[in-house]
């Protein structure tokens, strides 16, 4: 479980321009969904999206739940009504089945 290599190192100073060109190209790996944008916004506030896209970071649905709770508790800017949508989107699209 090598997820979050960069999460903890890039936790600060990423603001003002949320979607850099790099971020936009990373976002292309995220399947279309009504929740896609809120996932990208929540995750990229603190770290690069390559953590999620990397095949070596595949996790179980339970792990995604743990990590989303962890990130939100840590202070990721997520509204209460969006939390479960984000977990479901990551579990559906980026988990080991």
């Amino acid at each position: 479980m090598k997820f979050l290599n960069a999460v903890f190192f890039k936790f600060t100073f990423i603001f003002i321009v949320l979607f850099s060109l790099h971020g936009q190209s990373q976002a292309q790996g995220f399947p279309e969904s009504e929740h896609r944008d809120k996932v990208i916004m929540a995750c990229s506030a603190c770290h690069g999206l390559d953590n999620i896209l990397s095949p070596s970071n595949k996790m179980s649905a339970d792990d995604w739940e743990f990590y989303v709770y962890e990130m939100v508790a840590r202070g990721a800017p997520v509204k209460p009504e969006d939390m479960q949508d984000i977990i479901d989107y990551l579990a559906d699209n980026f988990s080991t089945k």
Partner: protein
């Protein structure tokens, strides 16, 4: 000010003229009156305040003790050493000075530091000359935090100085040069009280910091007599006001900003300026983020509270105006300025003139007490804009930031509540603590990624209080500091949040102190069996160690420390929690123990996460297997 004082004591001007002159020089009325009170005894014909100065006969240590009591010192933090002999003799028959002893000099300083951070007055500690090197780690922490400490160690007898003899080296005092504001080796018994006064004064004036005295033992034993001044003689007015024209200029810049942002730092807490800073931010609607700090410098449940840097993107998405003004209140500057590659113009407010404008350009510099700066800015802004204009400015930003703050806080608590399992997710532990702690509990924190648990607790002047983590980041501070905090606030619940790695930097020695003196603190160890932050830093770089999935220095799991066993050795009760469903009962037991007047150790096995979380191997070595003789 110096000229005014000179004129006053030489009877060239009246008291009224002195006060007028002070006002003209931008000092507040309170500051001017305080300065007058301090100078008054020296004005010809003036009456000394009662007991302003008296002569005391006794040993050098007696004089020091008398002077310390006059400063308001209640506790003498110490460890063992024969140099404490003169003080031991002085204590006989005294009831106005309480020793608080620890079994290691580093923890003595941590305890004194926690006490000083809360009282905002210098605390006094003393230990053996050979213990001085032990103590420098937490001395460094205090220096980085600008916390006032008076640190004293003894010295070889005068006839041994400079001989490189028993327990002595040349230039001891040089060893603490970079961790102290001022340091002195004393050689005259009759002047010991004077040096104590100086050490307190220098340590206490903002920006504060440790001062060090080193005194040969024979000097402290020697009979002498000297002047002891009352605490009033040391009272330096600290409500220094910023330059009025600079305040006015800054006010105009603030009013013309379309999207301001404030970052608050530790000087806000040190200057007791939270209320004034909140009023200033509300007046214009300035959202706030927190710089690293030993305090919570802005209420984290306030509608203008955005928390940390990474939340700014979400705010800007809704407010849709890029930041055009950055107010740095009481924090050291970001190297290169806020925004770095695209710096935003900055106003820097600080009590430390060496810090203002040091690392990046500014549009206005406000040097003075942060509380006075905030109050003066409020007045200046009110004089430049009417109520309707200000309301218009503030309303939208308050609405946007307030909506986000409320939502994020709710999410955070939900995430904590919903997390569960074994080992325990840290956020569930923080959530359960929040549910059971007193509304005004004090959290003393020393963890690797501190914000992660602190975000669960409401910090404000009328809510919980946060002390720590130190700016210096030298581990081995939190447990000792929590004992000092509890001594300063005996009627508030005090909880030490401690990483297992940080705890193991020699903090058992404070358990001895807590147990001996019945200091009821609950130590909560987030025990994940690893130095998680260093593991992330080292393995996360994906160099050879990261690619090989090897953890060389961070894994703590063999042996996995049982912290309740450590506590038991000091007659301190505790509980081990391995599953989130055990948390409620264990916390309840701990808080009952505190209520009964005893400390408590809560050892919670925490789930690891991030790079290398699953790695349990390390560079194996067994000396026993290397032996050729099994002895």
């Amino acid at each position: 000010m110096r000229e005014l004082v000179n004129d006053l004591v030489n009877a060239k001007i009246s008291r009224r003229s002195f006060l007028a002159g002070m006002a003209a020089a931008s000092y507040s009325a309170t500051a001017a009156k305080s300065a007058l009170a301090a100078v008054e005894p020296f004005i010809p014909g003036a009456e000394l305040p009662k007991n302003y100065v008296r002569t005391v006969e006794g040993t050098g240590a007696d004089l020091m003790m008398e002077q310390m009591v006059e400063t308001g010192t209640k506790y003498l933090f110490c460890s063992n050493g024969s140099g404490l002999g003169p003080f031991s003799d002085s204590l006989v028959g005294r009831t106005d000075m309480q020793l608080i002893q620890a079994t290691h000099e580093g923890q003595v300083v941590a305890i004194a530091d926690g006490y000083a951070k809360v009282t905002k007055k210098p605390s006094f500690c003393m230990y053996s000359r050979v213990g001085l090197p032990h103590s420098t780690s937490n001395m460094y922490n205090a220096m980085k935090d600008r916390t006032g400490l008076v640190i004293m160690s003894d010295h070889s007898n005068s006839d041994r100085e400079g001989t490189d003899s028993h327990e002595d080296i040349d230039n001891w005092i040089e060893a603490v040069r970079f961790y102290t504001k001022w340091r002195w080796e004393a050689h005259h018994s009759e002047r010991l009280a004077e040096w104590v006064r100086r050490a307190y004064k220098v340590a206490g004036v903002l920006p504060g910091g440790p001062t060090a005295l080193r005194i040969p033992r024979d000097i402290m034993y020697k009979k002498t007599k000297g002047a002891i001044f009352s605490g009033e003689a040391l009272n330096v007015a600290m409500d220094l006001r910023p330059d009025t024209s600079e305040v006015e200029r800054a006010a105009k810049v603030i009013l013309s900003a379309k999207s301001p942002l404030m970052k608050v730092g530790p000087e806000v807490g040190q200057c007791e300026a939270r209320a004034a800073v909140v009023e200033l931010c509300e007046l214009v609607g300035i959202p706030v983020i927190q710089h690293r700090s030993i305090f919570a410098d802005f209420p984290n449940t306030h509608p203008l509270w955005l928390g940390e840097d990474h939340n700014l993107g979400a705010y800007l998405r809704e407010y849709q105006q890029p930041f055009d003004l950055y107010l740095n209140f009481g924090a050291r500057q970001e190297p290169g300025g806020f925004g770095r590659t695209n710096p935003v113009k900055e106003i820097h407010a600080s009590v430390d003139m060496d810090t203002v404008g040091r690392n990046s350009p500014t549009v206005a510099n406000l040097v003075g007490n942060i509380n006075e700066i905030a109050k003066d800015l409020i007045e200046a802004i009110k004089s430049l804009a009417n109520t309707n204009q200000l309301k218009q400015l503030a309303e939208e930003r308050m609405r946007v930031a307030g909506g986000l703050t409320t939502a994020w806080q709710e999410s955070r608590l939900n995430a904590g509540r919903l997390s569960k399992g074994s080992p325990v997710p840290w956020q569930r532990l923080a959530y359960e603590l929040r549910q059971q702690l007193e509304p005004d509990a004090v959290i003393v924190e020393e963890q690797g990624t501190e914000y992660k648990s602190l975000g669960m607790f409401p910090f404000a002047d009328d809510a919980m209080m946060k002390i720590g983590r130190t700016e210096g980041r030298a581990l081995g501070w939190g447990v000792g500091a929590s004992a000092g905090v509890k001594l300063a606030l005996p009627n508030r619940q005090v909880i030490a949040l401690q990483g297992d790695g940080g705890y193991l930097f020699g903090q058992n020695d404070s358990l001895w102190t807590m147990s001996r003196y019945d200091i009821p603190v609950m130590i909560v160890v987030f025990n994940n069996g690893t130095y998680e932050e260093t593991r992330w830093q080292i393995m996360g770089r994906m160099g050879p160690a990261g690619q090989a999935n090897r953890d060389y220095v961070s894994y703590l799991g063999n042996p996995r420390v049982d912290f309740t066993h450590l506590a038991a050795a000091y007659n301190i009760d505790g509980a081990v929690v391995q599953n989130s469903n055990q948390l409620k009962g264990a916390i309840r037991k701990g808080l009952r123990t505190l209520a009964d007047g005893r400390p408590f150790m809560l050892d919670v096995h925490i789930r690891t996460l991030g790079v290398g979380a699953e790695v349990t191997d390390y560079q194996k070595f067994s000396l026993a297997e290397q032996r050729t003789r099994k002895v």
